[in-house]
Subunit: 233 residues, 2 copies
């Protein structure tokens, strides 16, 4: 059986430890400040902030050390032994239990044998795994900012507009869900609707008239971008 | 029992007719080009394009005429009789059956008795209804553009980045779903994560470096906007 040391007590470290422990894997958790004589473990998962990866990893003596970062290259690890990446693509918060069947894991290793070990771990968690280079992971991370952080900001602006005019925000929940679901059947380009897509200038003008300057700027830029994509594809 | 005439054979007309018929309401459907002697019906629902509402409604003789538009004021109807609005907030497509329990309906009437009738219809469809003025509906419509069209465009850009670097887009589906679900428990402001929110300049710089100019502009504007909202609230 594989034995795992988790280094770091933040959100990712907490959830990985909790889940592996629950499933009876041989797992132990360490803080990132402890001495790291981890020779007896098969793999050490360094789940710390991006900026701390080099510093923390350099002192870890373990046959294989992996980090969990979307933006850090595999070469960001400074341990003397073998290196890898085990990046769970999901937003974690400590208050909420994680369903690992909904957490895809991006794996990168220097050696084939380590790939096997990390895929075993991912499967053990119940996750789908994807082999990916550091470059691909870097682009995936910026794609995730669009798909999650920026999307959430669109919800934030929508809520702001609703609040201001006493419209209950919850009225938008079914539409938001449908929009998120639809792209599992259609591509986002095929799924697009609305005034920008059908070049409905009267509605666009009306909307711009309703919006404050900061929102107007976003509305204009995204409307133009939707129209460019409509032509391109 | 209430009797309903549906005028218009587009997506909204089709789905309303189909659903009411299925549920055995007394309902008939007419094309928008037919003569409209609809005096024997209790209500005529004009489900046509925004620009056609005035022209189509002006010839309808029915005690109550309502339109289904998010952006048109109740005064956009030109029928001689009573007026109202019955606006289903969802994106309809003909190929896909609609679950009306997930279609909130925004109602506006000039007279209380008509409000009762429209709420009965909404309940009959299994929908939640919301009383709303034309002004509120107008702001809701622009909020929906942010929450749905612009959000879908964020997915589109994310897919573009994934495709370009051979990363399967589906890897983002769980994150997209989680982002859409989360705001039913937390406000979008509380739910926000990512480099803009935590002012992680190193990651932001790295992302900007990866993006083409058109995406860079969107990234910068939305990052700035997230940070403004972070301070404001």
């Amino acid at each position: 059986m594989v034995s795992v040391a988790i280094v770091g007590k933040g959100n990712v470290g907490f959830h990985l430890y909790y889940e592996l422990k629950k499933k009876n894997l041989n797992v132990a958790q360490f803080s990132s400040r402890e001495q790291h004589q981890l020779k007896t473990f098969d793999v050490a998962i360094v789940a710390v902030s991006d900026y701390a990866i080099a510093e923390v990893s350099k002192n870890i003596e373990c046959p294989l050390v992996v980090h969990t970062s979307g933006t850090t290259s595999i070469q960001g690890l400074k341990n003397p032994g073998r290196k890898g990446v085990f990046y769970p693509l999901q937003s974690f918060s400590k208050e909420k239990l994680i369903d690992f069947s909904k957490v895809p894991i991006c794996i990168e290793t220097e050696q084939k044998q380590d790939e096997k070990l990390l895929r075993f771990l991912s499967e053990y968690l119940g996750s789908d795994d994807y082999l990916m280079t550091s470059t691909q992971r870097n682009y995936l991370h910026v794609a995730a900012v669009f798909a999650s952080n920026f999307t959430n900001h669109m919800y934030e602006i929508a809520k702001h507009l609703c609040d201001r005019y006493d419209v209950p925000f919850q009225i938008l929940f079914p539409l938001i869900e449908e929009t998120a679901q639809k792209i599992q059947q259609l591509s986002p380009n095929e799924a697009q609707t609305g005034p920008a897509k059908r070049n409905d200038l009267k509605t666009i003008r009306n909307h711009l008239h309703l919006l404050a300057d900061s929102h107007k700027e976003i509305y204009q830029l995204l409307t133009g971008s939707i129209q460019k994509y409509g032509k391109k594809l």
